[in-house]
């Protein structure tokens, strides 16, 4: 096992601002977020599940896919519907030791975005790495 892999196994890989993640992230739980911040409660309830799992001591990875990447757009506000929005929760992820933030590459490019546009450093995951990513988490919750 080389140094990179052992760091991944301990969950210590920091997200890279650009380029592909060098290894495949590993953890107890992978939460996949596929919905945008406003318009439904999927994103908020998915993030809630991630926070609770982290509070229970689980090593949580987040995968932002589809419209879920919009959760990471900077300068968000509460919005017209009087709901709190999710940007506050995104800000709190580090406090919950949720540091493995993964973004589906296609979700970014198809929306004209790049990792630099996002409010936090993330690891970009190419489509062919997704099966391996799922395989490296014993529990996957899909929102």
């Amino acid at each position: 096992m080389n140094e990179t892999e052992s760091a991944i196994d301990k969950g210590e890989v920091e997200g890279k601002v650009e380029g592909k993640v060098e290894g495949i992230a590993k953890g107890d739980l992978l939460v996949i977020l596929r919905h945008s911040p406003h318009g439904s409660s999927w994103l908020r309830e998915g993030l809630d599940a991630a926070l609770v799992a982290a509070a229970f001591g689980q090593q949580v990875s987040l995968l932002f896919a589809g419209d879920g990447v919009l959760a990471l757009m900077p300068h968000q506000q509460a919005g017209a519907l009087g709901q709190k929005g999710t940007h506050g929760v995104i800000d709190m992820l580090a406090m919950y030791d949720i540091e493995t933030l993964l973004v589906d590459a296609h979700a970014l490019t198809s929306r004209g975005l790049s990792a630099e546009d996002l409010m936090l450093p993330v690891s970009v995951v190419e489509g062919d790495a997704l099966p391996k990513l799922l395989d490296r988490h014993p529990l996957v919750l899909n929102f």
């Binding site: 509070a55 229970f56 014993p138 529990l139 919750l141």
Partner: protein, 130 residues
């Protein structure tokens, strides 16, 4: 094998609850154990005790209760998702000063930690979403 289910679709609005129930019945029919069904997102409406579907349609609430009575399956409902959707058991109704309750045993209001626990402690956690 020990199974747990996560149900996230509202009953009668989407197929998710119906599929989950049929899967649940198949699991026990094949001799596996179905220990836990966790209701989250709009799936919490499965726990509405006042649901009154037409008599010629399947009664999802009754079917979940039957699963509990016959196989001991625990029926867990996320309390945060339930409360904001008007699903309160007697204790929560009284705590929030509401005139009636809409959830009763064997459905139990519980925290999301139970979902994580169910996912980690069973051989399989199968999600049914709309």
């Amino acid at each position: 094998m020990r199974y747990a289910l996560l149900v996230q679709g509202a009953p009668y609005s989407s197929q998710a609850s119906h599929s989950a129930l049929r899967f649940a019945q198949a699991v026990v029919a094949r001799g596996h154990r179905l220990d836990t069904v966790f209701f989250y997102h709009d799936g919490v409406y499965n726990a509405a005790r006042l649901a009154a579907p037409p008599q010629d349609e399947p009664h999802l609430g009754d079917a979940w209760r039957a699963l509990h009575n016959e196989h001991g399956t625990e029926l867990l409902v996320c309390i945060a998702a339930a409360l904001r959707r008007g699903l309160l058991d007697e204790r929560e109704a009284s705590r929030h000063g509401k005139p009636g309750h809409s959830v009763e045993p064997p459905f139990e209001l519980t925290g999301l930690g139970q979902l994580v626990e169910a996912g980690l402690s069973h051989d399989r956690l199968i999600t049914f979403s709309p």
